[in-house]
Symmetry: C2
């Protein structure tokens, strides 16, 4: 399933940029960074539990906001993109 | 249906902050700003066409990135929030 993760971090706060880097690093293990603080992760329920656990440990929940959106398995037609940062379909095989 | 809109704007670029303000203003006509550049809008298909048209006119598509995620009508169980900025359910009636 696709889980969209949006992470609003006070980058001006002490450690904010570092937290964002850590969150990004965890998320890209399962997917891709589609915008500066938006990540699309393809996970099964168990992987999601682990990922959420890690992210909630990294985030400072008194300063930051983190949201998870569950887009299910048939998510390919549920996303539209415009503008910069063209994105690769992470579930499509790469043809070399 | 709920449409999630994520808007990655180069606020350091000329007019970036202004574009973000304009995008926010349009989006909150249909919903709420849940994070700095993340908006949840409840729209019917016709309203969505109008909203998307407006947003794509505001955004500078050579610098910014805008993504739309379609969460359907039964979106209430598809969202989890942690941290700051507690959000109101925009479809729930307000009891006075």
């Amino acid at each position: 399933m696709l889980v969209l993760i949006t992470y609003d971090v006070a980058t001006s706060s002490i450690g904010g940029s570092k937290r964002l880097r850590h969150v990004a690093k965890k998320c890209v293990d399962y997917g891709q960074r589609v915008q500066n603080s938006v990540f699309e992760c393809v996970v099964d329920p168990q992987q999601f539990e682990l990922l959420r656990h890690s992210l909630l440990k990294i985030a400072d929940l008194e300063k930051d906001s983190i949201r998870f959106y569950f887009l299910g398995s048939n998510w390919q037609n549920k996303v539209e993109h415009y503008g910069t940062k063209e994105i690769v379909n992470i579930e499509e095989p790469i043809v070399l």
